[in-house]
């Protein structure tokens, strides 16, 4: 039996390192570095199945991609000066891709991701990101932003004319200086902290809605939820035409007045009740002229409007 034992020992010694090393080798991706010429306002579409995709605007008339690909994925790319399509393809069998794509700063950018998280910064053209399960983070001074993630979170911190953001149960977090925004979720929370708030529309079924910031004189706020609670916070003295209706919920909150302006407005006692429906229709704040409308409709949710004092 000794030769047999020796043989088995030898086999184990030979195969054990393979057993240990194989998953490590499989998990390691391949490094990529490639570039293409592109016009400053080119349309660029990037695909990222897994991992992390970072897109960064730069002042060159070219597109460069660097990073590592997951095992099983390969790099593709091509097109013309005005239209380029690139990214990773294939099915990852080990590890995750991590790619950095530099694009002309003013390009028209489209990104599609399966499970990859996407971060876009420094692009001033239009941005359109769609992801099935990845988180999306967009920042910068941008012409317009369209972002959708089915189950991931969406974060936009931008100065932009327009934001369209959508998710189902992810979190929508929008900040910056935004002229117009349409935000939609099913059960994911929606948080807006814009300076100032322009024309903003939010729709959700059960997601919690939180809006904080000054409402522009030309702005408007339109929020519709089924059961999601709505929390508004305006600076003291904010002028607005409130039109609030909670069909099966309640309305509450305190609107503080400017110094020397009298006692704060208690919305809970101001609301008019008709059966299970509570409504408030009134002007708040000071000043003259048309007040920006604030319209909130919720079927089962609660509406809270409060004020805060801005730091001087």
């Amino acid at each position: 039996m000794r030769p047999l034992v020796r043989l088995l020992r030898s086999l184990l010694a030979l195969t054990a390192p393979i057993a240990v090393a194989t998953p490590v080798i499989l998990a390691q991706g391949s490094a990529v570095a490639r570039g293409w010429r592109a016009a400053p306002a080119a349309s660029i579409k990037i695909h990222a199945p897994t991992g992390l995709l970072e897109v960064e605007g730069w002042g060159r008339d070219s597109v460069a991609i660097t990073g590592t690909l997951a095992a099983g994925e390969s790099l593709f790319g091509g097109g013309s000066l005005t239209g380029l399509k690139l990214g990773a393809e294939g099915t990852a069998t080990g590890g995750q891709s991590r790619l950095l794509v530099r694009v002309p700063i003013g390009c028209r950018l489209v990104v599609r991701s399966g499970g990859a998280n996407v971060e876009v910064r420094g692009v001033t053209g239009t941005i359109d990101v769609g992801s099935a399960a990845g988180d999306v983070d967009v920042s910068g001074d941008i012409e317009s932003v369209t972002v959708e993630s089915i189950s991931g979170d969406v974060h936009v911190a931008a100065t932009t004319a327009s934001v369209r953001a959508r998710t189902t149960r992810g979190e929508l977090d929008i900040a910056g200086r935004i002229d117009e925004a349409q935000l939609t979720s099913v059960s994911g929370p929606v948080t807006v902290s814009a300076q100032p708030i322009g024309r903003l529309r939010i729709e959700t079924v059960d997601g919690r809605v939180s809006v904080r910031g000054p409402l522009a004189a030309t702005g408007s706020l339109d929020i519709e939820t089924f059961g999601g609670p709505v929390q508004l916070e305006f600076p003291v003295g904010q002028r607005a035409a409130l039109d609030l209706r909670a069909s099966g919920g309640e309305i509450r909150g305190r609107i503080a007045t400017a110094a020397g302006g009298g006692s704060p407005l208690d919305l809970g006692t101001t609301a008019v009740r008709n059966g299970t429906t509570a409504t408030i229709t009134r002007l708040i704040g000071k000043g003259s002229g048309a007040a920006p409308p604030v319209t909130i409709r919720t079927f089962r949710g609660r509406i809270t409007v409060d004020s805060y004092r801005q730091r001087s």
Binding site: P3, L4, L7, L8, L11, L12, T15, A16, I18, A19, T22, P23, L26, H47, P49, T91, T93, G94, R112, S113, G114, G115, G130, S131, A132, A133, E148, I150, S151, R166, T168, R169, G170, V186, S187, E203, V205, D206, E224, F226, G227, R245, S247, G248, G275, T277, F299, R300
Partner: protein
């Protein structure tokens, strides 16, 4: 008259005769008997038969056993290698599949429950039919291994959970309508929720094909 050559030829038999004598002097080559090949064949056959009757050598037994064991151990180690390398992805997929299955079961239960309690006007509402058709299309598409190859299971679970959430909301609104048939807000809410379901499914289908 004889020339010297002729004389020599007469007294000496010459080189041809000498060669012939020399050849004749060599040992005669034996020719095989006519049945030699038949005898050889019989002998070989007999030897082969007797060889088959001999039991295998004892020392061959450990060789076969060793080879078998070695093959088994290599196969086992290869199985371990494959299992190790695939275990993580499989366990993740299994967890997600369980999540999807659970969500789908809840969604189906909610859908069945809600469908049985449709309001009379909903039964003829084309939007309800559209949502049912889109839901069926979505589930077929998202189950297609080719179309949904890059669509993570958690995103599918999110769609199903969203459908379930809106169905729950619809059931709640229906109760309000039944309590107060003149509740216009509740009736509007039904239309809005149906529209949300349609948009949700259409966006999901669009992204499914784009990704």
């Amino acid at each position: 008259m004889n020339t010297p050559h002729d004389h020599e030829s007469a007294t000496d038999v010459g080189p041809g005769d000498a060669l012939r004598r020399a050849i004749d002097a060599l040992p005669a080559e034996r020719s095989l008997p006519a049945d030699a090949f038949a005898q050889l064949q019989q002998a070989m056959t007999a030897e082969a038969r007797s060889g088959a009757a001999v039991p295998p050598l004892v020392r061959s037994r450990p060789n076969r056993l060793t080879v078998s064991l070695a093959m088994l151990s290599v196969a086992a180690l290869l199985a371990i290698v494959l299992a190790t390398s695939l275990s993580r992805s499989r366990s993740d997929a299994a967890d997600e599949a369980v999540a999807v299955a659970g969500t789908r079961t809840r969604a189906a239960a909610v859908t069945d429950d809600a469908a049985s309690a449709l309001l009379p006007e909903e039964r003829t509402d084309p939007r309800v039919r559209a949502v049912l058709d889109e839901t069926r299309n979505w589930r077929a598409a998202s189950s297609d291994s080719v179309r949904s190859v890059r669509w993570p299971l958690q995103a599918r679970a999110a769609i199903e959970a969203s459908l379930a959430a809106t169905e729950t909301a619809l059931a709640s609104v229906r109760r309000a309508v039944r309590e107060d048939p003149d509740d216009a807000v509740a009736r509007d809410a039904i239309a809005v929720l149906r529209a949300k379901q349609l948009v949700l499914l259409q966006r999901a289908m669009t992204l499914l094909d784009e990704i």
